[in-house]
């Protein structure tokens, strides 16, 4: 019997068996950041242990940093201490750190792929749930907690049990203005926020094959929002072309061998999955979340659902609570709803293609009065590229704030927060209560939808707008 892609990678990383059904898996890349690593380093020190493979460990600063100025001091006293702790821990242990002053600093899940650290067939972990992003390259990539960070630092391995397998096939071609963000929101809407619990998802099908690497990253990024341990896509020529020439990608002398190995990474035709879901990609419309978890999502032209419309009593109750928190009523059209804040950024949607899509919608138009809009590029590289292409000027001329790289308003660990009762069109990944600030109301959308909302001052169906104002599709 054939094996799935996940099973192939998993089995090739088994170092040994611990006991029962627990294996010890080797970790190829360990990415760390300031928020979830300090206690791991303290624990390591306390136990008299050393970092086993500093050469496979890479660090950046992203979660708590100011995106207004690049300075340790700009994010407050406790954040500064956390940043200094990371710098000291990296220096002491010989770990490469892209600190706040490094030109390529950025969100950990944006810079990993950019630098070529992320490659097919790897096991990649990071103390951050959106590590699933790296699955776009055909790697097993998942988020871990701080105790596990300490374990990986000490042993370069992690105890694991093999997860169940879920195949998500997206057939057909996507409509114009339907982006990978819309696809993953539609998938989560269908499967539910716990639909992937215990599974590793493999995304496949014509719509997925047609996506760029950045699009695939957006898709895999949100696998965790349906509870999946990881999400991955078999590598192909798109993957190899993206990686070629990246600083940490295989060098010329190893390139052919690497590609030949990568080409063996796919699910066998006779592999069996524990669960299979098929979605017609051609039917997906631009999506928008209306509630307080990512499964509470609709196509932008649909009315806000009534709690009674859910046959599942738990979902009905959740819908009722969500409508109250969000200040919405059943039957409302979100295209009638005003926005206060627009956030374009996060590890989901802060890459150059995201900014191009947003800038194309903005064109020569202005941000609606009363709307606060910000663009936070995912990395120094993205920022420089956007400035070189003139996208930064498009945003600035329109009235967007143009920021330094970081996680920013996705989780509001720094001072980029949404005030209580304010409504935010956000390209991030979580619309939980209070996620962007206490009492904040988050609507998850694609970069094009967010940009359109900024211009109109309310939500817009991006597939219905005309581009006569100098913008280009």
């Amino acid at each position: 019997m054939g094996r799935t892609l996940y099973q192939k990678i998993y089995q090739s990383h088994v170092v040994g068996s611990l006991n029962g059904s627990t294996d010890l898996l080797f970790v190829d890349r360990h990415l760390i950041h300031e928020v979830t690593s300090p206690q791991a380093f303290s624990g390591l020190k306390l136990a008299g242990r050393k970092v086993r493979r500093p050469d496979l460990t890479f660090a950046t600063m992203d979660h708590n940093t100011s995106t207004q100025v690049r300075s340790y001091d700009a994010a407050g006293e406790t954040s500064r201490k956390q940043l200094e702790a990371l710098a000291a821990n990296c220096a002491e242990n010989g770990i490469e750190l892209l600190d706040l002053y490094h030109p390529d600093q950025g969100i950990v899940h944006v810079i990993g792929p950019e630098l070529g650290l992320t490659q097919p067939g790897m096991v990649i972990v990071c103390g951050d749930s959106h590590t699933s992003t790296h699955g776009a390259f055909g790697a097993i990539a998942f988020g871990i907690g701080t105790s596990e960070v300490e374990h990986v630092l000490a042993t370069q391995t992690l105890p694991q049990q093999m997860a169940k397998t879920l195949k998500v096939e997206v057939t057909g071609k996507l409509s114009p203005f339907v982006t990978p963000k819309d696809v993953i929101l539609a998938i989560i809407g269908k499967l539910g926020t716990a639909g992937g619990n215990g599974y590793v998802a493999e995304f496949c099908g014509e719509a997925i094959r047609g996506m760029t690497m950045e699009g695939r990253m957006t898709l895999c990024n949100m696998s965790i929002e349906m509870g999946a341990k990881a999400g991955l896509i078999a590598p192909d020529d798109t993957t190899f072309a993206y990686l070629k020439g990246k600083p940490h990608a295989p060098k010329a002398e190893h390139w052919d061998a690497a590609v030949s190995y990568w080409q063996s990474l796919y699910s066998d035709a006779d592999a069996s999955f524990d669960k299979v879901v098929t979605i017609d990609g051609s039917q997906i419309k631009p999506q928008i979340s209306w509630g307080t978890n990512p499964e509470q999502v609709i196509a932008v032209n649909e009315p806000v659902p009534a709690p009674e419309s859910f046959t599942d009593l738990i979902k009905a109750d959740a819908a009722k609570r969500a409508l109250t928190y969000m200040g919405l009523e059943a039957g409302q059209k979100l295209t009638d709803i005003k926005v206060d804040v627009v956030f374009i950024g996060s590890c989901t949607n802060s890459r150059i293609e995201d900014l191009r899509a947003a800038a194309a919608v903005v064109g020569s138009q202005k941000v609606a009065s009363g709307v606060r809009a910000l663009v936070v590029p995912g990395s120094g590289q993205v920022k420089r590229q956007a400035e070189a292409e003139g996208l930064a000027d498009v945003f600035k001329n329109a009235g967007f704030e143009w920021r330094e790289p970081g996680c920013s308003m996705c989780l509001g660990m720094n001072d980029d927060r949404v005030d209580a009762g304010q409504r935010c069109a956000s390209t991030s990944n979580r619309n939980f209560e209070g996620r962007q600030g206490r009492g904040s109301r988050t609507h998850l959308v694609s970069p094009a939808m967010a940009a359109a909302a900024a211009i109109a001052g309310k939500f817009v169906d991006v597939s219905q707008i005309s581009f006569s104002e100098g913008a280009q599709a």
Binding site: V15, G16, L18, G20, L24, F26, V35, T36, P38, Q39, S42, G43, A47, L56, H63, N64, G76, T78, K81, Q82, A85, Q119, G121, M122, D128, S129, F142, G143, I144, G145, T146, S147, E148, E150, H151, A154, T155, P159, Q161, T193, A194, N197, I224, G227, K251, H254, A257, A258, N293, I314, A318, L411, M413, A420, F432, E433, G434, R435, R438, G439
Partner: protein, 200 residues
């Protein structure tokens, strides 16, 4: 032989999909310490915007003060991987959580802190919530025999991964356990260097 892993008052938190942003909001994550998170637990639910205690939140109700067992619903601990969530729960005083299901990362993080997370069927969870409605409950958890002892000879059995059970019963340092495979790790590294030299 019975072995009581934990015992005490039960606090019923009647919510599904409690995410780790609710368990501990972002402003408490800038600490470099592993301690001091008890006050931050369920912060936005526990305290009103002016800082006063929210009398409508279950944890603030007088009859649940000193609770040691948290009873909740499905998909508890979803979202962010922050281990600050189980730290806050444990430091508040809960070493056992009973729910219909847990998010994967949260589950691992909790076990790594020596906490016991028990998953039960929806009907058993409903049964336990109904029991809580009759008045404050004092339960004991017999991990060796995999039973929640409800008092008066009533009990609910539970399933648990045997590897997790052994770890909780032995209190074994999980890094130490993996280090016993150090020779295999070294061997794996050598093979890896040979087969996939580009990986470093």
């Amino acid at each position: 032989m019975s072995q009581i892993f934990a015992k005490g008052l039960v606090c019923p938190l009647d919510k599904n999909n409690v995410d780790t942003d609710q368990i501990i909001p972002k402003q408490f994550l800038t600490s470099v310490s592993r301690d001091g998170f008890a006050e931050a637990l369920f912060f936005d639910w526990r305290y009103q915007a002016d800082g006063s205690a929210n009398p409508d939140f279950v944890l603030n109700e007088p009859q649940y003060q000193g609770a040691a067992i948290l009873l909740t619903r499905a998909n508890f601990g979803c979202g962010s991987s922050r281990e600050h969530a189980p730290w806050a729960i444990q430091q508040y005083g809960f070493n056992v959580i009973i729910a219909e299901s847990f998010a994967d990362i949260f589950f691992n993080n909790s076990v790594n802190n020596g906490m016991l997370l028990i998953s039960l069927s929806a009907s058993n969870i409903e049964f336990l919530f109904n029991r809580c409605k009759q008045g404050p409950q004092q339960w004991q958890i017999d991990l060796a025999n995999q039973e929640i002892l409800l008092g008066n000879n009533a009990a609910v059995g539970f399933n648990i991964d045997q590897d997790v059970k052994q770890r909780l019963l032995s209190g074994l340092d999980f890094i130490g356990a993996s280090e016993t495979l150090s020779p295999q790790i070294t061997q794996y590294e050598a093979q890896r260097r040979q087969n996939t030299p580009w990986l470093g």
